[in-house]
Every structure is written in structure tokens, then in C-alpha cells.
């Protein structure tokens, strides 16, 4: 393989001086790496807001009755928390940050297929976020419908819902355009010799994800438009008092929002599929099986939305069909776990920071997945649906899954992105607090759900008290870990020791370019030979 390692001292993307200065050098840049960082900083800011809201809820729930806020505020807090976390953090998630940064480099390209469209996607993202923020700051009342905007409550509430819905609609376009960009990039811009089956698994997962973004997001877009029209003009699609059907809303909403779960988790799985082999210095186990499972999840994931609606009123046949499909979609995820663990077998394992995050990812992802089986079966779903059990389940999957993978990925690619290494002792401590806090925060919610405590509950009966105290304590431990992790990463970007080109001895192409990479990534486009492969250690 010809690598680009011998590039002379080209300017890194961080130092490059173009025609714009200061902040404009960033917000007018079409360099995929700068756009990735734009996403990262905007998402990090919003994430901290979301976390603060989460902590506020946990503080409110530490005791029955009013603790720090009233019910109206609580309902607004979980709505805004959910909208931020879902539409602005985990849906753009890994593709927006690591997909943008690494995809072109990993497939040997100088940029994505449409760099300007890429920047536009970020503008749209910011616009969407601003609209949601506007719904909080202006108008008569913060939205209080939950992030699901269920009809007909979303027509009854007097709060300022429209800008939030419109914001979610706009954010959808950002997602669609990113997906489109990635599909074309992967089809057209792979390095010569990099056949489909020589492509690393992270780009593969982005490919599966991109198709979901492209095909599923329009459904929620149209649904949100219908909700807006109904709120403004009373057209009567979903509101029963106007002859509409509120259950239709749920179908349309989940036709998108279930596949959206895979938009969140597939790239996370892709990142894990890179980290595990690198730190085991071993070829990934079952490369093709992992690809097949990615595509299977992306495909079958379209047909399971009904599992969110087992109590809303569907025919019996629809119910058990959705149940069985839900179980089928669990299999490819299990296959991935088996392959990751087998990759460690007979490896030469360096349990460094990214690997620790990856292993914890596997652990919490398994818990999330197993609790998903409880939700997939009819009898048990009916019991735990809309209880704290579901809240625990999706935090384990989307926060445990996407969150741990995100932190794994940032610690993995950090030296490449910033050319410096973080402090490992602090990083390890942050990880430990975060993990312990995470488990203490969410595990009690499984128990609470099994006891019968419904979700979105501002107040609860005394019998639920003990587990709620434990959960609230966990939230502080986790927040402490999070602070350590973030401060460490921030400080090291300036002061950390200079990182070499290939600190972890990886085999994918990003480790063949300097850290941080030059503006155009490669001087000369690399060529993949017969014997080259992303995991040939």
C-alpha cells in the first residue's frame, strides 16, 4: 500500500489560514474536519443544557411532592430535555462528528462528495436548534407535550409548541442532507482498490445509517407538518374532535422514530467495531457477518415500529407480528456482540482508555438489549410500557449505547483530531465515575418500572421513594465523571503532549496521515493493493 505518510510538512487543518479570519474561518469552511468540529462544539453545548435539565429532573424526583419545581415546569423540563437529547444530540450523533471527520479519511478521499452541502447541513442544524430554543424563551409557555408530541394533547396544550415542532422538522433536513452526502461519498469516492469488502466497518455503519436517514426522516417531516397545520387551521387529521385519529399520529411518528433509534446506534456500533480490533491488535472477527448484521438492522428496523403501540389499540394480528419482528431485529445486534467478544479472543489486548469505554459500551448495550426483549414480548410489554422501565431501557440503549461509544470514539480519535494526547489518569478516573454513576442512575429505574411507577411522573407514591433516592444520587456521580472527562479533553487540546501519527497502531487509513491531518488529508490518494485490508495486523 502506498501511504501518504511521507507528506512533507503540509499545513494541518487546524492551522490553515484561508481567506476568512477568526470564527469565520470556521463557520465558512467547507473542510469536512472543521465542519465536524463545528458540530462537536454545538452539540456539546446543547448536551450540557440537556444534562442540566436531566439533573434538575432527578433532583425534583429525589423526594415525593414538590422539591424544586412545580408540575408545569417539570413537564416542560422533560419535554425540552427529550427534544434536545433526541433531535439535537443522538440523531446527528456520531455521523455528524466522527462521520464527517473520519469518513473521507478512512476511505481515502479528500473531502465528502458535496462539501458545501455539508456546511449547509450544519447551518440547518443550527437553525433548527435556534427554533427550539425560541420556543422555550418566547411565547406563552414552554412546550410540555413530551418529545413525542402525541395527539391530541399536542392540540390541547396552550404552550408555545409550534416553533419546537418546526425546529424538529428543520433538524430533519440536516439529517437527510448528511445522509445523502455520505451515501454519494461512499459510492463514488473510495480510494482505488478499496472494494466494498475492504471498507472499514465504521464507514459501513455510516452507509447503513445514511439510508435510514434518507428514507425515514421525510415521514416524520410530513407528520410534523400535519400537526402544525392541524394546530393552526384545524384540518382534522389527528384530532378526534375534528374527526381525526390520534392513533394514526402514533403510527406515523414511530415509523420514523423507531428507525431513528438505529440511526443513533448503528454508527456507535461502527465505532466499537474499529476500537476493539485496534486495541486487540487483531483482525475483526466475522467482518462480513458484522456488515450483514448492519444491513439487516437497517432493513428490518423499518418494520417494528408497532412495538411502541401495543396498548394503543391495534388488531391482534398486528400486535403479534410486530412482536415477532422485534425479536428478529434483536438477532443481528446479538451477532455483533458475539463477534466483538470473539475479536478479543487470542488478541493482544491493551486496555487503554478507548478500549475501556468500548467494553463498557458492550456491557451497557447488552443490558439495554436484554431489557428490549422484555419490551418486545407482548405480555411483559403491556405491563412495563409507559413506566420507568422504558425510561431505563432507552437511556441504556441511547445514552449507554451512543454515549459510551461517543466517548470511546473521542478518546480513540482525539490524538488524530487535535494532534495531542489527553491525560490518561484523569481520563480513566472520569470513565470510572461516569460508569458507576450511570449504572446507579438508571438501574433503579428498571426496578421502579417493575414496581409499576409510570413515566413522566412529576410526583409519586411513597412506595417508590427509596429507589428514586438512589437514582438521584447516581446522577450526581455520573455528572462528576462527565465534568472530569470534558475538562480533561478541553485542557489537553492545548496542553497535552504531542501525539504521534499512529498512537494505537491502527490499520485503517486515518492512521497513515499526520496528526492533525493536513487540509486535504492526502497528498496523494492512497491505493489499496490486493493484500491490503483495514484489519490486516
Amino acid at each position: 500500500m502506498q501511504t501518504a505518510a511521507q507528506i512533507p510538512h503540509d499545513v494541518s487543518y487546524l492551522d490553515y489560514k484561508g481567506k476568512y479570519k477568526g470564527i469565520f474561518a470556521w463557520i465558512f469552511s467547507t473542510d469536512h474536519k472543521r465542519i465536524a468540529l463545528l458540530y462537536m462544539f454545538s452539540m456539546m453545548t446543547l448536551f450540557l443544557v440537556g444534562v442540566a435539565l436531566g439533573l434538575a429532573m432527578k433532583l425534583e424526583l429525589i423526594a415525593p411532592g414538590r422539591t424544586i419545581m412545580g408540575p408545569q415546569s417539570y413537564n416542560a423540563v422533560f419535554t425540552v430535555h427529550g427534544v434536545i437529547m433526541i433531535f439535537m444530540i443522538v440523531i446527528p450523533g456520531l455521523p455528524a462528528v466522527f462521520g464527517n471527520f473520519m469518513l473521507p479519511i478512512m476511505i481515502g478521499a479528500k473531502d465528502v462528495a458535496f462539501p458545501k452541502l455539508n456546511l449547509l447541513s450544519w447551518y440547518i442544524y443550527v437553525l433548527g436548534a435556534l427554533l427550539v430554543i425560541a420556543s422555550v424563551l418566547f411565547g406563552n409557555g414552554i412546550p410540555d407535550t413530551g418529545w413525542t408530541f402525541y395527539a391530541p394533547y399536542s392540540f390541547k396544550t396552550g404552550t408555545n409548541l409550534l416553533p419546537a415542532i418546526f425546529g424538529a422538522f428543520v433538524l430533519g433536513f440536516s439529517s437527510i442532507l448528511t445522509g445523502l452526502n455520505f451515501i454519494v461519498t461512499i459510492h463514488r469516492m473510495r480510494a482505488p482498490g478499496m472494494t466494498w469488502f475492504k471498507m472499514p466497518l465504521f464507514p459501513w455503519s455510516l452507509y447503513g445509517t445514511a439510508w435510514i436517514q434518507l428514507l425515514a426522516t421525510p415521514v416524520v417531516g410530513i407528520t410534523l407538518v400535519l400537526v402544525s397545520l392541524e394546530r393552526i387551521f384545524g384540518i382534522g387529521v389527528f384530532d378526534p374532535t375534528l374527526g381525526g385519529d390520534p392513533v394514526l399520529y402514533q403510527h406515523l411518528f414511530w415509523i420514523y422514530s423507531h428507525p431513528a433509534v438505529y440511526v443513533m446506534i448503528l454508527p456507535a456500533m461502527g465505532a466499537i467495531s474499529e476500537i476493539i480490533p485496534t486495541f486487540s491488535q487483531k483482525h475483526i472477527f466475522g467482518y462480513k457477518a458484522i456488515i450483514a448484521s448492519t444491513l439487516a438492522i437497517a432493513f428490518v428496523g423499518y418494520f417494528v415500529w408497532g412495538h411502541h403501540m401495543f396498548t394503543s389499540g391495534m388488531s391482534g394480528t398486528a400486535q403479534y407480528t410486530f412482536s415477532i419482528l422485534t425479536f428478529i431485529v434483536a438477532i443481528p445486534s446479538a451477532i455483533k456482540v458475539f463477534n466483538w467478544i470473539s475479536t478479543m479472543h487470542k488478541g493482544s489486548i491493551n486496555p487503554d482508555i478507548p478500549f475501556l469505554w468500548a467494553v463498557t459500551f458492550i456491557f451497557v448495550f447488552m443490558i439495554g438489549g436484554f431489557s428490549g426483549l422484555v419490551l418486545g414480548a407482548l405480555a411483559t410489554n403491556v405491563y412495563v410500557h409507559d413506566t420507568a422501565f422504558v425510561v431505563a431501557h432507552f437511556h441504556f440503549i441511547v445514552f449507554g449505547g451512543v454515549g459510551f461509544a461517543f466517548f470511546g470514539a473521542i478518546h480513540y480519535w482525539y490524538p488524530k483530531m487535535f494532534g495531542r494526547m489527553y491525560d490518561k489518569a484523569w481520563a480513566k478516573m472520569g470513565w470510572a465515575f461516569f460508569t458507576v454513576g450511570f449504572l446507579t442512575l438508571y438501574s433503579p429505574m428498571f426496578y421502579l418500572g417493575m414496581m409499576g411507577m409510570p413515566r413522566r411522573y412529576y410526583d409519586y407514591l411513597p412506595e417508590f421513594h427509596a429507589a428514586n433516592i438512589l437514582s438521584s444520587l447516581g446522577s450526581w456521580v455520573m455528572a462528576f465523571g462527565l465534568v472530569i472527562v470534558i475538562i480533561n479533553l478541553f485542557r489537553s487540546a492545548k496542553n497535552g503532549p504531542i501525539a504521534p501519527m499512529d498512537p494505537w497502531h491502527g490499520k485503517t487509513l486515518e492512521w497513515t496521515v499526520p496528526s492533525p491531518p493536513p487540509v486535504e488529508n492526502f497528498d496523494e490518494i492512497p491505493v489499496y493493493g490486493e493484500k491490503d485490508g483495514p484489519y490486516n495486523y
Binding site: 408545569q72 413537564n75 410540555d144 402525541y150 391530541p152 390541547k156 396552550g158 378526534p240 374532535t241 381525526g244 385519529d245 390520534p246 486487540s280 491488535q281 487483531k282 483482525h283 466475522g286 462480513k288 457477518a289 396498548t311 389499540g313 403479534y320 412482536s323 425479536f327 434483536a330 438477532i331 458475539f338 467478544i341 478479543m344 487470542k346 488478541g347 493482544s348 489486548i349 458492550i362 456491557f363 436484554f370 431489557s371 426483549l373 422484555v374 418486545g376 414480548a377 407482548l378 405480555a379 411483559t380 410489554n381 403491556v382 405491563y383 409507559d386 413506566t387 417493575m450 414496581m451 409499576g452 409510570p454 413515566r455 413522566r456 411522573y457 412529576y458 410526583d459 412506595e463 495486523y537
Partner: protein, 315 residues
């Protein structure tokens, strides 16, 4: 506690549902612990210090087949038990005892065939009870954890649920579907009584509701309002909730918006009746339209007279 003490068998569905729980969670725990320990063992055994050079293995078709087929069989077993525990919930026996459940923001009321109306669900033991679920406004969730049943209460759709209570006692009944401000206060209880005792309670229609005794018209008005849930949105002490307070309301002037125009009206019998039967015609300024639902068919003119008597006393 419900799950953990599943031997209590409070309803006919408990056994089936808990069996599904046990099987799914049992298999899951075995796998979770097994896989976690395998992973930890590999990390320990193949640590770079002990094993500086990895052995390259690219995969194994045989293993892929094994770990596709075995989990598939296991999840189909889980599916089966999930289905088996749920299937009986679908159809109520023909001779069930019927009760109508009306959900509204933010309470439930229960109407019996003989006209009794309560805010607690009274049911006989060992007899199939069929509930007709009706919502007056938004979607609510009818959830009795101890009985393992849950069904959304959807406006515009007639839905139902059924059960056979098998244990005497008082059990929580929650609203599980988010429905606005006081969602978490939308709970009440199911009271299960032996059949004889229930019969005695049921035929005694002298007591409209057995929660409060009937004394004067004003007390009666208060009781009606409490049972049907007016106080979820209104107070009597001057504080605003979702709707205006009733303190000093009778005889005072309020500004209302009628079809986009503001006008001033005096609160009298007629206005109160209209506010209850058609609350969105005149909307009190500063409040939102569409929150209070019309109570046509739920409150008789006589009920409203009693409510008005009570409101008059709130100076």
C-alpha cells in the same frame, strides 16, 4: 413488589405475565453474566503483557451459524411466552360485569349499570369485570399494576379491558399515558370485595357515591365536583391552576372572549351552566381555550344546580 411477590395472584393474568418475565429475564441474565465474564476473562488472559502477539483469526462460519440459530430459537421461545400471557387479555367472557371508565384531565370516574358513579373502582372478587374505556379529552393510560393490565384510553375510540380480581384488597390504579399538568396525580384505587359484600354495596343506591355523606345542597355540590375532578383545574382559595379559582366567583364580573371579542359578564346560574356544558363558547380572558371539556351527558341539570349552590358559598 408486585413482580417480586407474584404469588399474590391478584388477577387472572398475573401467572401468565410473570411467567413471561421469568423466562425472558432468566435467559437474559444467564447470557449477560456469561458474556460479561467471558469478556473480562479475555481481557485478563490476552492482556498485552501476557500475550504480546495476537493470533490472527478472521472468523468462523460455523460459529456465526451457531450464534445466529441458538439466539433465534431462544427469542422465539420468549415470543411464545409473551404471546401466551397476553392472548387471554384480548377477549372478555360474555357474562362479564360491565363498568364504564371515563378518563379526563385528570381523573377517572366509574359508572355502573345501575347508575352508581364513583371515583374509586369497586369490583367483585372472582367475577369477570369488563371495562369500557372512554376518554373525554386526550389519551390516558388505564393501568392497574397488580393486575398486570394496561390499555390506552383514546378519545374517539371505544376501547375495553377486562380482568378477574382474585384477591381482596386495595390496589393502585394509575394513568400511564402522559396527559398534561397533573398526569402524576391522576391515580385512584381499585377496591376488590368478596361478591356478597360487593352486592350489598352495589344495590345500595341511596348513597350515590360512598366516599362522602350527603348533607346539604352545598356539600352535595362539592362532592360532585370532587368526584368528577373539577379541582384538578380549579381551586377554591383564590389560586390559579389551569383554570380560574372559584373563590368569590358568583355574582362577580368576568371578562370573557366570545368568538374573538371581549365582553364582560356577570357570573350567574345561566353563566355557570354554560361554562360547564359549553366551556369553550365564552373563554375567560387569560386562560386557554380547549382545556376544559364539555360535561354534557355527565352532569345533569340537577347536578349543576347543586354545584351552583356550592359556588355561591365561596366568598
Amino acid at each position: 413488589m408486585y413482580i417480586l411477590s407474584s404469588t399474590t395472584n391478584a388477577s387472572n393474568f398475573v401467572t401468565g405475565v410473570d411467567k413471561a418475565f421469568m423466562i425472558i429475564m432468566g435467559i437474559s441474565f444467564v447470557f449477560l453474566i456469561g458474556l460479561t465474564f467471558t469478556m473480562l476473562y479475555f481481557i485478563y488472559k490476552y492482556n498485552r503483557k501476557k500475550n504480546p502477539v495476537a493470533t490472527q483469526i478472521e472468523g468462523s462460519t460455523k460459529l456465526e451459524i451457531i450464534w445466529t440459530v441458538i439466539p433465534t430459537i431462544l427469542v422465539l421461545v420468549m415470543f411464545y411466552y409473551g404471546w401466551a400471557g397476553w392472548a387471554p387479555m384480548r377477549n372478555a367472557p360474555k357474562d362479564s360485569f360491565n363498568i364504564q371508565v371515563t378518563g379526563r384531565m385528570w381523573n377517572y370516574t366509574f359508572q355502573y349499570e345501575n347508575g352508581k358513579t364513583t371515583d374509586t373502582l369497586f369490583v367483585p372478587m372472582n367475577k369477570a369485570v369488563k371495562l369500557k374505556l372512554i376518554s373525554m379529552d386526550v389519551i390516558h393510560g388505564f393501568f392497574i399494576p397488580a393486575f398486570r393490565i394496561k390499555e390506552d384510553v383514546v378519545p374517539g375510540r371505544e376501547k375495553s379491558a377486562w380482568f378477574i380480581a382474585q384477591r381482596e384488597g386495595l390496589f393502585e390504579l394509575f394513568c400511564s399515558e402522559y396527559c398534561g399538568l397533573d398526569h402524576s396525580y391522576m391515580y385512584t384505587y381499585v377496591k376488590v370485595m368478596p361478591e356478597q359484600k360487593f352486592k350489598a354495596w352495589y344495590v345500595d343506591t341511596t348513597k350515590h357515591v360512598d366516599v362522602a355523606a350527603v348533607e346539604s345542597p352545598t356539600a352535595n355540590g362539592k362532592r360532585i365536583m370532587k368526584n368528577i375532578g373539577c379541582f384538578a383545574c380549579h381551586t377554591v382559595d383564590g389560586n390559579k391552576l389551569v383554570g380560574p379559582s372559584f373563590k368569590g366567583i358568583y355574582g362577580h364580573k368576568v371578562t370573557v372572549t366570545t368568538g374573538g371579542n371581549d365582553r364582560e359578564v356577570t357570573v350567574d346560574d345561566e353563566y355557570i351552566k354554560k361554562s360547564i356544558y359549553d366551556p369553550n363558547a365564552d373563554v375567560v380572558k387569560g386562560y386557554n381555550k380547549g382545556l376544559m371539556q364539555p360535561y354534557v351527558g355527565q352532569l345533569s341539570e340537577d347536578d349543576i344546580k347543586q354545584i351552583t349552590e356550592y359556588l355561591k358559598t365561596l366568598k
